[in-house]
Symmetry: C2
Subunit: 264 residues, 2 copies
């Protein structure tokens, strides 16, 4: 019922493991049932590859995609493993179109919650932050500077489908982002070890009712000093134990949900 | 100045990649400078292995450990790569004693914030949660049921040294944990998609002033129904966007920091 996967197409899909190839083709691989469901829902799916030995709900998902007019190719489990970048392939891959957004298109006068990551390098972190920003109902995630590609297989997997739900802006300099947010009067805030205000300061919490963009820096060295200085406010995310800092994605989750609590 | 690493010792260290061997010997591998510093600080270090080509601060760290009377072995970079479970070995490994804690020893009448994970399987998540619990000043992390070993290399790395800072209890059944917390009148709470109270409900936030133990379930299927039903309260962690749920470690971060904010 499904078409067999040709060697030529298999090679083309394999090439999508490279960032350059994803950018040149505008395609990327969404691995696993969750990502494929999200891609179908968002109409971004180009074609599907399913393991010939796959049964049950995953096969049902391939049939569902086929019912939507999407071509489904069948491959051996060995071929699926070769195409998969996950250690535990789940028998289904979606080849999807990469959504493209310009900053001004998704961050405008109506935006109330924006996440900006400067030079984030860990794809797992970036995917988790995209998922968290989606859950928090943020307007967009902006990956400024030399950040990791959000359509990298691990980032897509960590996003659990959210890469299809929330606009992710790439290829923009941090200073252009700061300027754009300034022109919209969206308050820019970062957590900082040398912050002058506590995250839970009542006046600061009150100020979170207004539109805000939260900035987070690189996993190892944080935000650059120039960017930190250019923002409206630097707050201290309190550490009560012996840990030196929090994981980047955890900090993002706490700041976004603190914002939502302040607005609730 | 350092001793050469013998083949026999190298083999013994390599075996520590297996959980069974870690349990039999009470030892585990702390990879990278951060983990080695934390192990030195906590007096848990058995010996150190450093790359012979390593220079700068990492070599300084090996010399520092040596100054404390800890034996330092030198190995080729190839040997370091073979012993390392990280894709980016950082030239130094500490072989550390596994801290052991009994539940009743670390969760008692004086405890005010406890994290309980039931059947957590992802070592990256478990390490990040240990780091977050440490940052939040929690009293202990309890890994109940068949959870992943917190002394697995990836969990140790994700904990960024916190595995040495906060007591982690393993090998205990979830029901024993619920009973123990009940006997201490520590309130037991879980997030649940079918929660009856919102996390940000003002009465609930007020109740967080009292000692609380936060329960989180397995990444894929959450807490078991029986455990969920046995807890004092189930709260809804609100989702404002299209994401179906939050990552386990992110949920933990939000709940712990919401507790701290309620107490501040």
């Amino acid at each position: 019922m499904f078409e067999p996967l040709s060697l030529g197409l298999s090679k083309r899909v394999r090439k999508l493991q490279q960032k350059r190839e994803r950018e040149a083709t505008g395609l990327f691989v969404a691995e696993g049932p969750g990502a494929v469901v999200a891609a179908v829902k968002n109409g971004e799916l180009e074609f599907v590859i399913v393991g010939e030995d796959v049964v049950g709900p995953v096969r049902g998902l391939a049939e569902h995609a086929s019912g939507y007019g999407i071509t489904v190719y069948e491959a051996t489990s060995t071929a699926i493993e070769q195409l998969s970048e996950s250690r535990t392939p789940q028998g289904i891959l979606g080849i999807a179109r990469r959504p493209q957004f310009e900053l001004a298109q998704v961050v405008d006068k109506s935006s109330s919650l924006v996440v900006v990551l400067e030079e984030a390098r860990d794809p797992g972190n970036v995917g988790t932050i995209i998922r968290t920003a989606d859950a928090a109902g943020a307007d967009a995630v902006v990956l400024a500077g030399e950040s990791v590609d959000p359509f990298n297989a691990k980032a897509v997997r960590s996003s659990a489908g959210s890469v299809f739900n929330i606009p992710v802006v790439t290829d923009v300099s941090t200073s252009a982002v700061v300027d754009h947010l300034g022109s919209l009067s969206i308050k820019t805030v970062a957590t900082s070890l040398t912050g002058d205000t506590d995250l839970y300061d009542s006046e600061f919490l009150h100020s979170l009712q207004d539109p805000v963009a939260w900035f987070f820096g690189n996993e190892a060295h944080g935000l650059s000093k120039e960017v930190e200085a250019a923002l409206n406010q630097r707050v201290l995310l309190p550490i009560y134990g012996q840990a030196e800092s929090l994981n980047l994605a955890i900090s993002t989750g706490i700041c976004l949900y603190t914002t939502l609590q302040a607005r609730s």
